[in-house]
Amino acid sequence: MNMKPSIKKLTYTKIQRNDMRVAYLMLLPAVALLGIFVVTPLVMSVQRSFYDWNFYKDSVFVGLDNFRVIVVNKSFQRAVVNALKFVAILVPLQIVVQFAFAHLLCSLSKRFSNTVKTAIYIPGIIAGIIAGIIFMFIFEYKGGLVNQLLTSLGLDRIAFKNNGFWAMISIIVPSVWLGFGGGTILNYAGLISVPGEYYEAASIDGAGSVSKLLHITLPQMKNIFVLQCINMTTGTLQMLELPMIMTSGGPRESTLTPMLYMYNNFKNAGQSMGQTIAGALLMMILIALLNSFIFKVIKSEKSIEG
């Protein structure tokens, strides 16, 4: 190591400088695309929410008026409440069902469970549009599968589109179907990665299967549950295709979702876009709040268990 320190430093910085230039060049496409198609629209959303405008008329600055109007807009209110209902039903329902089925698969032979996993994963790659169409056919009033089965059992047909409760069910069923395989596989992976020694130690201490589930399995699955809760909540709050196809948001807006509300406003160009965007920003805040709430609740449970 007799090299002169100054030369060493010089060459080092030269390489480093060169690396930096390459780094910026290689980052450029991704950073630029995100800037143009994600960050710019976000900045524009904030800016445009202060203006009264639509695709036919010029913008007028109105301050916070759009927010004031949208929060008391009946359709928007219903859409938000519906979305929260969907979250309250779909998130716990899916987590329980997927976890339970993954738990069952863990007790079966590896070859068998692999086949089952492949089969249940397939619906997960089906488009929302197509899932909607298939289930619309299954829930068809006169000749649909469900109503045919009901009538053959001597029961009344269900008008899925005319009743708020059944309209919701008709959206929940395909949602569960679409997410079932992927969620189960994720849970399965989490379950098999719980160290076996934990269970052995618990058995020695005389713990039963319920106590093992409560004190080992569920706490070990916490990260997966957080991930699932956050993904499902974010996704459910932005549901579009299923309500659009199954119910068009009806009856009487009982299954209207915020995304469908915005999509309809967009298609109906006379609608105030300023208000629509104000609503979209409020939804972003709602999503962020709900996610941080989920994060906090599940994390605090962890700290209690120590």
Binding site: T40, L42, I126, A127, G143, Q148, G190
Partner: protein, 278 residues
């Protein structure tokens, strides 16, 4: 001995339940497939028939011959967009991932935060202003509006960075000594090492493009470049209760993702889990 019996019965029930659930899960697709071969009167007929009485192909003919909703053309167009989307998206995002995993430069933390935070912006919030952006760029009703806006993605950058962090530094150092530049190292060493994650993410990107409805239906009205899902939707609204035809259209539209899934099944299921656990 008795306990053993009980365990075996319970196991048997477990297998039965799992099989039934797997079948129920596949049933809607089977139902769609069968309906696509039924006649108009048969498809919603009482009493219910599981199998078509005569397997007819007229539904498929109607689908392929529809000039209102050119399904085959839409599929070709969507395949083209999705294939280009996969290649470009992987390249652009992996390049960024490599830089974040391996290079040091001013503003690294800031740029990393910038890329990652974009993941948390809900699509709904930027829906209408994204339209305004592509409108300003004169991209409405072009091929490019379908392809370009979705290329870069914070999640993919994050995913590949995790993967690249685990590539041993010795591999790279050897190439450095041989005088390889960073970009060449990325192309010659990092890309070939990443085939598995590339298949996993690539399949996801493909399915994302294939299944997308909202964005193409907002930005494209020209049916000669329209993507498959808006075409399916318009076919469905045009044909009301002719479920045989509609199911024939949806059957055709699910073939590419299912074939892709079958080919790469092992990678996809494994990779889905990997990306989920991180």
């Amino acid at each position: 001995m008795k306990k053993n019996m009980g365990l075996r019965v319970r196991h048997g029930i477990g297998y039965a339940v799992a099989s039934i659930i797997a079948l129920i899960s596949l049933f809607p697709l089977a139902w769609m497939f069968l309906a696509s071969f039924k006649t108009k009167s048969e498809v919603l007929a009482t009493p219910l028939k599981l199998l078509p009485v005569n397997w007819i192909s007229t539904n498929y003919k109607a689908v392929f011959l529809s000039t209102q909703n050119p399904l085959l053309q839409a599929m070709t167009m969507t395949l083209l967009v999705a294939a280009l989307g996969v290649v470009l998206s992987l390249f652009i995002n992996m390049m960024a991932s490599y830089v974040f995993a391996r290079l040091e430069f001013y503003g690294k933390k800031l740029l990393w935060a910038y890329c990652i935070l974009t993941m948390y912006i809900p699509g709904l919030t930027i829906l209408i202003t994204s339209y305004l952006v592509v409108y300003e760029l004169s991209m409405i009703n072009t091929f490019w509006v379908l392809l370009i806006p979705g290329l870069a993605g914070g999640y993919n950058i994050f995913f590949f960075r995790q993967f690249f962090l685990n590539v041993p530094a010795s591999l790279e150092d050897a190439a450095r000594i041989d005088g390889c530049g960073r970009f060449r190292i990325f192309i010659k060493i990092f890309l070939p090492l990443s085939t598995t994650p590339m298949v996993v993410q690539g399949a996801g990107i493909f399915i994302g493009y294939w299944n997308s409805f909202l964005w193409p239906s907002m930005t494209v009205t020209d049916k000669s470049i329209q993507q498959i899902m808006p075409i399916i939707r318009s076919f469905q609204t045009d044909h009301g209760a002719e479920y045989g035809r509609i199911m024939a259209a949806t059957c055709v539209a699910v073939i590419p993702p299912i074939v892709l899934f079958m080919i790469f099944q092992k990678y996809i299921v494994k990779g889905f889990v990997l990306s989920g656990l991180k």
